[in-house]
């Protein structure tokens, strides 16, 4: 895995430098245009501060920003012991030094992602729809895939790209707006306004061209290779390729759309939430390899769940002569026996209700059982008010 890890480190560093270059140029131009001759130095200074600020936020707060954007809520072990159990097992299998924090996203569309700047500071988030639909083996496959991303340092790179993308979109927006509003004023008051207008216009145009290119960078960030690698690692960690295969199938078959996914966050997820079903063109440009192919590879791993087995299956299914697993990993790869599937003891409905109750709990709802057999779930904003059971008309004081 070391090739992959050092490539990720190199790419992250390259991005930081690229971001600096871009910001310095913009800062200098802004300074020259707005303050006048010599103001570029001041602009440069502002840009430098902005750059430091961006780097610090993305490194120390990037994971939390992503989690907040996606509406994820942290849960504790007592809230969902099975999920925690799986995360702990996979932490050991992946050899991570610390169990990642676990988050739940209240969304019926099944999906999951991982984030974190290091192997120690990491988090994994799953949607409630995922927990409702998947059985234990499938969930284990998904978690293993996500922890593989953390282990390979894919997540740090993702954070860097995401924050940079956000900054550029914001700057382009400011440029366009100042062009729009500033344009009117300069025509009436200043004579030199025309030149300033032109420069800002140019910058805005450049940024607008750059934004999709940066987006493309994200696409390369979690490139197909990374996804295949994480799939292969998941097979090794779980010793059960079928789990991830059927999970991927279930996730991609769902027609529900993840409401919190944006262009900047989409590549993080295990299955691209913005990809339309049955869209051939999206297959060409997508961040993720086609699901059908990933599933086929996992299903045709013969004789074991090791990296070598995955590599063979990959070559057979895709017909490509070059595999995806780094050489050093293949060399150290050990034989991994495929385990027996786990038994499922809960029905879909029981699971569904359990997840819903968990969602109420993380959102601070108070659950009360009325004597008439009805359950009342009270939102935090109504605590302290008198609440009447609509069926038996008993009145409760919802106190917390």
């Amino acid at each position: 895995m070391w090739e992959q890890i050092s490539a990720n480190r190199r790419n992250s560093a390259f991005l930081v430098v690229l971001m600096a270059g871009l910001l310095f140029v913009i800062g200098y131009l802004f300074g020259e245009v707005f303050i006048g001759y010599g103001g570029g130095i001041f602009g440069l200074f502002i840009a430098f501060i902005l750059w430091i600020f961006l780097i610090l936020t993305s490194y120390f707060g990037g994971d939390n920003i992503f989690l907040a954007i996606s509406g994820a809520r942290e849960i504790q072990k007592k809230d969902h012991p099975i999920l925690f159990n799986i995360v702990e097992e996979m932490t050991i299998a992946a050899g991570l030094p610390k169990v990642p924090r676990v988050f739940i996203i209240d969304d019926d569309a099944p999906n999951a992602f991982a984030t974190g700047r290091t192997r120690e500071v990491a988090a994994v988030a799953v949607t409630s729809g995922l927990l409702e639909r998947l059985n234990r083996d499938e969930l284990q496959g998904v978690i293993a895939h996500e922890l593989a991303h953390i282990n390979n340092r894919d997540t740090l790179y993702m954070i860097m790209v995401g924050v940079m993308m956000g900054a550029i979109v914001l700057l382009a927006d400011i440029g366009v707006r100042s062009l729009f509003y500033g344009g009117r004023r300069s025509r009436s008051s200043r004579s030199g306004g025309g030149q300033a207008e032109l420069v800002i216009f140019l910058i805005a145009i450049i940024l607008m061209i750059l934004a999709p290119i940066i987006a493309q960078l994200i696409y390369f960030a979690i490139s197909r290779k990374r996804e295949y690698l994480a799939d292969a690692s998941a097979a090794v960690f779980t010793r059960y390729p079928e789990g991830l295969a059927s999970a991927l199938e279930k996730i991609s078959n769902s027609s529900l759309k993840l409401s919190s996914a944006t262009k900047a966050t989409a590549p993080m997820y295990i299955v691209n939430p913005l990809a339309m079903k049955n869209n051939k063109i999206s297959d060409l440009t997508s961040t993720h390899p086609p699901i059908s192919e990933r599933v086929k590879i996992l299903r045709s791993m013969a004789g074991g769940a090791g990296f070598t087995n995955y590599e063979d299956a990959y070559k057979r299914i895709t017909g490509r002569p070059v595999g995806v697993i780094p050489f050093s990993t293949l060399k150290d790869s050990k034989d991994v026996l495929i385990k027996e599937p786990s038994k499922e003891d809960k029905t879909k409905k029981e699971k569904q209700r359990e997840i819903r109750d968990l969602i109420w709990k993380v959102n601070d709802y108070k659950i009360m059982d009325c004597e008439c057999g009805i359950k009342l779930k009270i939102p935090p904003s109504l605590l302290g008010k008198k609440i009447q059971c609509p069926k038996c008309l008993r009145i409760y004081n919802a106190i917390e």
Binding site: R356, G373, K377, P379, L382, I387
Partner: protein
């Protein structure tokens, strides 16, 4: 979920594993699409498309409410054959909204239905309120 009429948080009531959102101020009820789906599964109803109650639109002068999920104005539809009750249905199929008045009409008398699915949904609501 926020009540489409008074914009307050609604409480959730669970009966026979089905959850409904209920506003303690205006006493209206929201039947969410997910819960409708679960309800249909349980009672063996074949859901037609994304609209559980597949009835034509009704042009009413009643105030239009916004769907608590997608915030788009909801459509009005009529349930019942002889006695008519106007209820609100989300355009995208996010769920159904019963005003206090509509709910009372549903609860106080059984409304003859041509459609068996609608009958089942209304009688479930009748059980609670």
């Amino acid at each position: 979920m926020i009540c489409p009429v008074c914009n307050l948080d609604m409480i959730v009531i669970e009966h026979k594993d089905i959850e409904l959102d209920y506003c303690i101020q205006c006493r209206g009820v929201w039947f969410d699409a997910n819960e409708l789906e679960l309800f249909c599964e349980k009672s063996g109803i074949q859901a037609g498309g994304n609209k559980i109650i597949d009835l034509p639109l009704y042009y009413s002068k009643e105030k239009k409410y916004k769907c608590p999920r997608c915030r788009e104005p909801m459509d009005k539809i009529i349930v019942g054959e002889k006695k008519e009750v106007v209820i609100d249905r989300c355009k995208k199929g996010d769920g159904l909204w019963f005003d206090k008045g509509e709910l009372e009409q549903v609860v106080e008398q059984s409304i003859p239905q041509t459609d068996e699915n609608t009958e089942k949904i209304l009688s479930f609501i009748r059980e609670i309120f």
